[in-house]
């Protein structure tokens, strides 16, 4: 079983936004939803490996900054072409104001 990784403070992410988190040679995106919940996906778009950190979070979707493909960041589901392949998602929990992810 993978360990929980301390990724960031909850305050590091604005509401309805995301930040990039790099760990162990991999890159992730951590989101804060309008309901103040936290989620984590792979950081790179499945279409052309562009990082999602500069993308737009709208409610529960993340839009890739290069080609405007969209995913549901809660499930990783690809919602809008040109993305066809879902994003990998990871478990998240919040403890004492810290966001922890299990990868």
């Amino acid at each position: 079983m993978s360990d929980w990784i301390d990724a960031c403070a909850t305050d590091d992410i604005d509401e309805e936004d995301l930040i990039r988190f790099d760990h162990g040679g991999r890159t992730f995106a951590i989101y804060r939803s309008p309901e103040d919940e936290f989620f984590c996906t792979d950081g790179l778009c499945t279409h052309e490996q562009v990082h999602l950190e500069d993308g737009l979070v709208m409610e529960h979707t993340i839009e890739c900054p290069k080609h405007n493909g969209r995913f549901d960041y809660r499930t990783g589901e690809a919602l809008r072409a040109p993305v066809c392949v879902n994003l990998a998602t990871y478990e998240v929990k919040v403890e004492a104001g810290r966001v922890l992810i299990r990868i």
Partner: protein
């Protein structure tokens, strides 16, 4: 320099990959995340307003054209209808394809489908084609949407003001797709999972065109085709006029949109028809920004960009001499100066660019 092969299946395609130009990292002006988020914000109201105006005008002009048909008094109304059908639909296809016009995505998709039909651009094929255009903008062998190749084919460029080559090509592709096949270049950028959709839409469109032609034959009148199909020809001039300026005469095979895109200040009518794509450097650098926020983005980053062309005529005055010179010197291109406030071009990224930097487009 040997003549370049612009096909996506030729030697230039492999060469672009070898040189690291495929899916490369591109230059971006600095805009803080907070400002960028505000600029990227989506809304429905402005695009709904513009869409009501657009379709309202189309219905009005076509209605008057039909009412006055076959009098020559109908001609101005057909010309107005045609430019909305054959040119404004180009920008609607583009913006809604990006998904940036409306916040509500079904509205983007609905307008995208209608606009794609008007422009005879398969909505599946062109979504992928345009994604590639943004990944590899004006990279020879990679970008399927290079409209001004070197040496320029002036006959083709002028004929396309009346949609002639583009429409002929589009109809051929539609019939090919309807027969259940894709062109070889299409297969290079459309995922296999999407290819059946290309064929299904092509078949629906062939049925619509066949019904229109049948109606024209039954009524023994060209009128049905004046409404559907022919406006792609007689109304194409505006989108070609503005579209050629996007990249014409500028650099190939670079990774800085300041070198291969042109921003042009335009009159309000053209900007409505073109949905602000005259801010073309800005659009390519930040494709997430809705059309109605591009003027703000321009103000924010213009100190990092070449001076915009002040008008459409001025942009043509800049571009045409470069294209004429490319008839004899294919590697010639226009390289515009940056203001002192801008971050300089990364010469180390472009030292292999085939061509001669042109400080001035003079002979």
């Amino acid at each position: 320099m040997a003549r370049r092969d612009y096909s996506l299946t030729g030697p230039e395609a492999a060469r672009a990959v070898e040189r690291g130009l495929a899916a490369a990292e591109w230059y971006h002006s600095d805009v803080p995340r907070k400002e960028m988020k505000a600029l990227m914000k989506r809304e429905d109201q402005l695009a709904i307003r513009d869409t009501i105006i657009l379709f309202g005008c189309m219905i009005l002009f076509a209605g008057i054209g039909i009412a006055l048909w076959p009098s020559w008094w109908s001609a101005p109304f057909w010309l107005a209808y045609g430019v909305l059908y054959g040119s404004a639909m180009d920008s609607r296809w583009h913006e809604c394809g990006h998904g940036t016009a409306f916040r509500t995505d079904w509205m983007n998709n609905a307008v995208y489908q209608v606009a794609s039909f008007c422009m005879i651009r398969n909505p599946v094929t062109w979504r992928w084609s345009h994604a590639r255009h943004h990944t590899d903008t004006i990279v020879v062998g990679r970008d399927p949407e290079i409209s001004v190749m070197r040496p320029p084919d002036f006959l083709r460029l002028v004929a396309n003001f009346f949609g002639l080559f583009d429409t002929w090509n589009s109809l051929g592709r539609m019939l090919l797709n309807a027969s259940g096949r894709l062109a070889p270049d299409e297969a290079t950028y459309i995922p296999e999972s999407e290819q059946p959709k290309v064929i299904r839409i092509a078949r629906i469109w062939v049925a619509i065109y066949a019904a229109t032609i049948l109606l024209a034959l039954v009524t023994w009148s060209i009128l049905p085709l004046m409404v559907i199909g022919l406006p792609r020809l007689y109304g194409a001039w505006h989108h070609v006029m503005t579209g050629l300026l996007q990249h014409g005469g500028l650099a190939e095979d670079v990774t800085d949109h300041r070198l291969n895109c042109r921003t042009v200040y335009m009159n309000p009518v053209s900007r409505f028809i073109y949905w602000n794509m005259n801010y073309h450097v800005e659009h390519h650098m930040f494709p997430m920004i809705p059309y109605h926020r591009l003027p703000e983005l321009h103000e924010r980053i213009k100190d990092d960009l070449p001076e915009p062309s002040p008008s459409i005529p001025a942009a043509y005055a800049e571009m045409i001499p470069v294209l004429v010179r490319q008839l004899r010197y294919e590697d010639f291109f226009l390289r515009r100066d940056l203001p002192p406030t801008a971050r300089p071009y990364r010469e180390d990224l472009h030292d292999e660019v085939p061509g001669i930097p042109a400080a001035m487009p003079a002979e």
